[in-house]
């Protein structure tokens, strides 16, 4: 009798486990204030638009979205991640903008076997030997944009390039990606202090070095300052300027305007990519927020769409982690970047496009797609991933 009861109880528990959850809880930790806040806001807006497009649900289940601001502080991000996982027991985590913030929170998230969907930062270690079954990136590996830029400059036949980047590990990573695909010589390489404001010294050096083009990687406000000073020094008339897509996202173009005109950059997404999902995303984003979306918003949107597809594919049974992983890996959704599939390291295999900043017919500064640099590009780290 006792045995029978136990069996019944077990059977009951098992049928409970296999039953669909009644809602999806998503923990969204991002940088929403401070100098980097504009990026987190873009990702959040994109993510929320995604949920709106799926009828306020993810995979048919009602969503409980818990949005927190990490203030670009690693310790704050870790506390928030702990809170969301231990107290709120979220099913998914997403949102983090910056690599150092992710590093602080990643042990808590991945250690608790909570799926993390990265809408932005893609550290190379998580793409290589440190790849993790619970980590998915809908974005890129941090050196992919510069790989594409390097490839494009080689293709265009540039032989003598001047490189400028900030002197910190992230800056060196990006330059290494560039060097992997750029095959010419270097007129000069300058590594500036992180957070430097004035680039008069470096611009003078560039002019004296007479390169045939310049590649710069200066994230955030550094890049904006550099662009303005580059323009003022009249360098835009003398040397072609290449950068990564991050320096020419739509929010930056809108704020900086004229000095960005003509600059060439590489990205996996653009406003004018010709697919139905993207057209809907761009039109509705502009209608809802009164501005054009950038790649950060597109990544946030895709993160929501990926979760939606995975939850739908497991028919709401998100407790079944193994099935959920298979569904995430299948990535059964229409990405705004067009074709999308995950590599075995859970990073995308995707195209990278060349974009040029132009003025559109409404007088706005926008990126125009000027060609495809890489088709179905894989990152350089995937072979080290045993998953």
């Amino acid at each position: 009798m006792k045995k029978k009861l136990l069996c019944l109880a077990l059977a009951g528990a098992m049928s409970m486990a296999a039953q669909a959850a009644d809602k999806v809880k998503v923990g969204f930790v991002s940088t929403l204030s401070g100098p980097g806040g504009i990026l987190g806001v873009a990702i959040r807006d994109g993510f929320q638009l995604g949920i709106e497009h799926t009828g306020g649900k993810l995979g048919g289940l009602p969503v409980e979205l818990l949005i927190e601001d990490d203030q670009q502080k690693p310790d704050v991000a870790k506390q928030l991640a702990d809170k969301l996982i231990k107290r709120d027991k979220v099913d998914f985590m997403t949102g983090i903008v910056f690599q150092n913030i992710l590093q602080a929170a990643q042990a808590s998230v991945l250690g608790s076997e909570t799926y993390y969907i990265s809408p932005n930062t893609g550290p190379s270690e998580l793409a290589g030997a440190g790849c993790n079954p619970y980590f998915f990136a809908v974005s890129w590996v941090s050196d992919s944009y510069s790989e594409a830029t390097g490839k494009n400059m080689t293709d265009k036949g540039y032989k003598n390039v001047f490189v400028i980047a900030p002197n910190y590990p992230g800056g060196k990573d990006v330059v290494n990606g560039f060097k992997r695909y750029y095959k010419g010589n270097y007129a000069g390489e300058v590594y500036t202090k992180l957070g430097q404001l004035d680039y008069a010294v470096e611009i003078s050096q560039m002019r004296a070095a007479k390169p045939d083009a310049v590649f710069f990687f200066l994230p955030g406000g550094m890049g904006v300052n550099f662009l303005k000073q580059w323009h003022q020094a009249g360098m835009n008339k003398e040397f072609p300027l290449f950068g990564t897509g991050w320096s020419f996202d739509q929010d930056t173009l809108a704020a900086v305007g004229e000095p960005t005109l003509g600059a060439l950059n590489a990205s996996h997404w653009n406003l004018d990519l010709d697919n139905a999902a993207n057209k809907k995303f761009v039109a509705d984003f502009e209608k809802k927020f009164g501005r054009l979306p950038n790649e950060f918003a597109a990544q946030g949107y895709d993160a929501a769409m990926l979760i939606d597809a995975a939850v739908r594919d497991v028919k709401g049974k998100i407790e079944d982690k193994a099935a959920l992983r298979k569904a995430l890996e299948a990535a059964n959704f229409k990405s705004v970047r067009g074709a999308f599939k995950f590599n075995k390291n859970h990073f995308p295999i995707q195209n990278y496009y060349l974009r040029q900043v132009v003025k559109d017919d409404k007088g706005r500064f926008v990126n125009k797609t000027a060609g495809t640099i890489f088709t179905d590009h894989q990152d350089a780290y995937v072979s080290a991933c045993n998953m």
């Binding site: 100098p35 806040g37 008069a200 003078s204 904006v224 303005k228 003022q232 009249g234």
Partner: protein, 306 residues
């Protein structure tokens, strides 16, 4: 390296030094005369830059926006002095640091509430947007040249004000010996408010002149504040002459460090080592300068009252 590049870098150093001087002139007076450590000095610079950028957008004229922004920032400075800082003069430095740090947070959050997250960008006024050929082959940005001229004019004006006028005499007296100046019947209260207002206006001028070059964003004041304090310490606390020489030294040393240390190291070290050490060494050059100056002159180059 050619001599044209060398001259260009000298101009860059001079321009940076003079901008720093505008910030430091107010800071050193406030530090020297009122014995107040004002961490919120950078916030006044930020507020000035925001106001000038806003007035430029509203009026369409940078030339008109600068005096408006300067006046508004001076008024804000004086109001803050009269309401918050006045009570702090008798407190120890720790209380002042805490209170003015709070002011930074308040200023940053209010700025964010008023102007939003997106940084403001201002383009160089049309007339100064080109470059000037100073010597054959030496093209220099007209706006940066204008910064140098404004910096030199302000320095000359301040020198005249501090050394040749009665107000300047009171300011110097206050910096050298505050108690004695009070005992001699100087209305220290008003003097302090006036000096604080003038310091705020100079901050705003620095913010105005730099706003077409740099992004106007929340937190821009903090990044330059440390450099300003380093300059004050090198020049000697409370000394206008020290602020001027100190700012130029810091400007030149920082510029030359960035321009010439990495290539120099590349000629004497293996490339990998030089690439690793060069930028770091360039970044700490001004702090090395401070250590060297303080080793020989612990009071700074031109301490007030010496």
């Amino acid at each position: 390296m050619t001599w044209i590049l060398f001259l260009e870098q000298c101009l860059n150093g001079l321009q940076f030094g003079l901008m720093l001087f505008l910030l430091v002139a107010g800071l050193t007076l406030i530090f020297g005369i009122m014995d107040l450590i004002n961490l919120a000095h950078g916030s006044l610079y930020m507020i000035g830059a925001y106001l000038v950028a806003t007035f430029t957008q509203a009026t369409g004229s940078f030339l008109l926006a600068v005096p408006l922004g300067l006046a508004a920032t001076a008024v804000i400075g004086m109001v803050v002095e009269a309401t918050v800082l006045r009570g702090l003069y008798k407190r120890d430095h720790l209380s002042q640091v805490l209170a003015t740090f709070a002011l930074i947070l308040i200023a940053n959050e209010s700025t964010r509430a008023i102007w939003g997250l997106q940084a403001l960008t201002l383009n160089v006024p049309e007339a100064l947007s080109g470059s000037v050929e100073l010597l054959p082959g030496l093209h220099y940005s007209a706006f940066r040249l204008a910064i140098i001229i404004v910096g030199l004019l302000v320095a000359a004006g301040l020198y005249f004000l501090v050394v040749r006028t009665r107000i300047g005499m009171l300011v110097r007296a206050g910096a050298s010996n505050r108690q004695m100046a009070t005992a001699m019947g100087t209305n220290i209260k008003w003097l302090f408010t006036a000096v604080f207002g003038a310091g705020a206006a100079l901050c705003a001028l620095a913010g105005a002149m730099l706003s077409p070059l740099l992004v106007v964003q929340v937190g821009m004041g903090e990044s330059i504040l440390i450099l300003a304090f380093v300059t004050v310490v090198i020049g000697g606390i409370g000394s206008m002459r020290g602020a001027f020489i100190g700012a130029l030294l810091v400007g030149i040393v920082d510029t030359f460090g960035r321009a010439f240390i990495p290539p120099l190291l590349r000629t004497i070290l293996p490339p990998a080592l030089a690439d690793a050490a060069g930028p770091s060494l360039a970044a700490i050059s001004i702090y090395l300068l401070m250590v060297i100056v303080l080793f020989w002159k612990p009071q700074g180059l031109f301490p007030a009252g010496s």
